[in-house]
């Protein structure tokens, strides 16, 4: 199993969710986050006061998938989240040791 953590542009969330559903992903956790990468922040001007806002709002999705489906899911995300501009985000894949469905006690890939 792999845990796929994805940082995307907020307005791409619906597209990515649809793509993940088509790719057979049955569950996703979504968090509103702020961060910075190569995409620069922006300045905000309030009358005479100018503030540099370094942290850009992003959406973080987390989903656990069986090893066999990792490439399909990554392709789906790439297709849905890409705008070809700086700031499209990142996909991180990490090994996942264990999973349990709380309601039934199922473990491993059965729990996904």
């Amino acid at each position: 199993m792999k845990l796929i953590t994805v940082i995307i542009r907020p307005f791409k969330l619906d597209d990515v969710r649809d793509a993940l559903t088509e790719a057979g992903v049955t569950g996703v956790t979504v968090t509103e986050v702020k961060g910075y990468g190569r995409q620069k922040g922006h300045t905000e001007l309030y009358r005479g006061a100018e503030y540099v806002v370094d942290f850009v709002p992003k959406i973080r999705l987390e989903t656990a998938v069986p090893d066999a489906r990792v490439d399909v899911v990554i392709d789906a995300i790439l297709e849905a989240a890409r705008t070809d501009k700086v700031g499209d985000g990142k996909i991180f894949v990490t090994p996942l040791d264990h999973a349990v469905r709380i309601r039934t006690g199922e473990i491993g890939e059965d729990a996904l």
Binding site: R47, G48, A49, V53
Partner: protein, 467 residues
């Protein structure tokens, strides 16, 4: 004692006796009374909630309730002080600088049981108003003026210090300026040419100069803006000023506040005609138009100079326009409203950017940059656009014959300059003294930890938002 008012009160009282010819005593017009009561309520709306929301949206969320609370309580405090002694010291005859004591605790306004009421003058002969209406109308002016100052002090001032500062500044700053600018015997007193000199001498110092201030450019806005700047200097900058991000926490509320200010300002400016007449209607349209001009001027100037037209800019432009048209409202024609509105939008944008950088005080919500700068802009341009040659109505020069005239642009402008100068100096000195006294008594600022935690939790024990 105000002999004119006392005489009218006794005349009104005499009317209940059938032996007197009552037709000789003009009574207040019901339409005028209705309009002035509504106008008074509109001016109340300008403070609570309009100004409170306008200011509240501009601070960080941890200080939201402290701003709402300061405005709410200062408004109430000044209203009470107004009825205890403020009205008497502002609007009864005394010296040219300070009124008398004949209306302390609002005594002498009438006999409620016998339904006999003291009458106050308006700007037309034989057109009195109930003095109790005038008391209430002017109370809302005194109260909002003190609330305006708060914008310079927010996010670090101690609540007790606010109350002490306001009580002192209201008594020795606002009341004398209101008396100097607005106290006069009223048109009915001027019945013979031989009385004119002594009647004029009984009026307020700035009124005697012939300075024009329709609804409070000097008394309200320059007064408050200068006091705010002095307060900001003596209070010091907020922790992290210029380094930390101090973004407004809700420009949505600021926009609602600015819009309600615009609405309430019709009571403020058109109500200052004291009658439901053409002068009120002119003030109404000028208030409407100049504000729209200022919104456009600020928006386009900001768009050109800073790259983006901002909501805060548009809302600030509206307030700048409202401030600047205040002394002018019924004193200029439509051309004046166009020019004053556009000028206010551009000049106040300069006031809150380039001028503010040079002053380098943490006037947190730009009370000086908008209210003092806008008020001075309006006060001076009132002197210019009052000219009949520029579409203005001029002003009554001879109250015996009610003859209108205009002394010339330079002469009128000079009167306006003197009125502005006296107001600036008077307000600044009293504000500095009031700050020192409040600082000695309770300390002006909260401590650093409390300031970082936020005034809502520290000073008031509650939070504005549940998240």
């Amino acid at each position: 004692m105000n002999p004119q008012r006392a005489a009218r009160l006794s005349l009104a009282a005499a009317c209940v006796l059938p032996a007197f010819a009552c037709a000789a005593t003009p009574q207040p017009d019901k339409a005028d009374t209705a309009w002035m009561l509504v106008a008074t309520a509109l001016v109340l709306l300008m403070s609570v909630p309009a100004l409170a929301l306008f200011y509240g949206g501009l601070v960080r969320s941890k200080n939201m309730l402290s701003v709402l609370m300061q405005v709410f309580v200062v408004f109430s405090l000044v209203t009470v002080l107004w009825c205890v002694y403020g009205y008497s010291f502002a609007f009864t005859q005394g010296s040219a600088f300070f009124g008398g004591t004949s209306r302390l605790f609002l005594t002498g306004l009438g006999d409620t049981f016998r339904d006999e009421w003291a009458l106050a003058p308006t700007f037309s002969k034989a057109t009195p108003m109930y003095e109790i209406v005038f008391v209430a109308f002017q109370a809302t002016f005194a109260a909002i003026t003190c609330c305006l100052i708060l914008g310079s002090l927010v996010e670090r001032v101690r609540f007790a210090a606010v109350l002490i500062f306001v009580a002192i500044w209201f008594s020795l700053g606002y009341l004398p300026v209101a008396h100097m600018v607005w106290y006069w015997p009223g048109p009915d007193a001027y019945s013979e040419a031989s009385q004119v000199a002594s009647l004029n001498a009984s009026a307020g110092y700035i009124w005697q100069m012939g300075a024009l201030d329709f609804a409070g450019g000097t008394v309200v806005h320059i007064d408050a803006g200068v006091a705010g700047l002095v307060g900001a200097f003596l209070l010091g900058k907020r922790i992290g000023w210029g380094r930390e991000v101090m973004r407004p926490h809700s420009l949505t509320m600021t926009m609602i506040g600015a819009s309600l200010l615009w609405f309430g300002w019709f009571g403020f400016n058109a109500g200052s005609a004291l009658e439901a007449n053409a002068s009120a209607a002119l003030a109404f349209l000028n208030t409407y138009l100049a504000t729209a001009c200022a919104v456009l001027a600020w928006t386009f100037a900001e768009w050109i100079l800073k790259g983006k037209p901002s909501m805060l800019g548009a809302a600030s432009g509206a307030v700048a326009g409202l401030v600047a048209i205040t002394p002018a409202a019924g004193n200029v024609g439509i051309a004046g409203a166009f020019v004053i509105g556009v000028a206010a939008g551009v000049i106040c944008l300069w006031g809150v950017t380039a001028l503010k950088r040079r002053i380098a005080a943490d006037d947190s919500l730009d009370v000086f940059g908008v209210h003092a700068v806008g008020g001075i802009t309006g006060a001076l341009l009132t002197g210019v656009f009052n000219s009949p040659d520029l579409g203005g109505p001029g002003a009554v020069q001879d109250w015996v014959t009610m003859t209108r005239g205009y002394p010339g642009i330079l002469a009128q402008l000079w009167s306006q300059v003197k009125a502005v100068g006296i107001t600036v100096a008077w307000s600044a000195i009293v504000a500095a003294a009031a700050c020192k006294i409040a600082d000695t008594a309770v300390g002006l600022r909260v401590n650093e930890e409390q300031e970082r935690e936020g005034l809502d939790i520290h000073s008031h024990g509650e939070s504005a938002y549940d998240y």
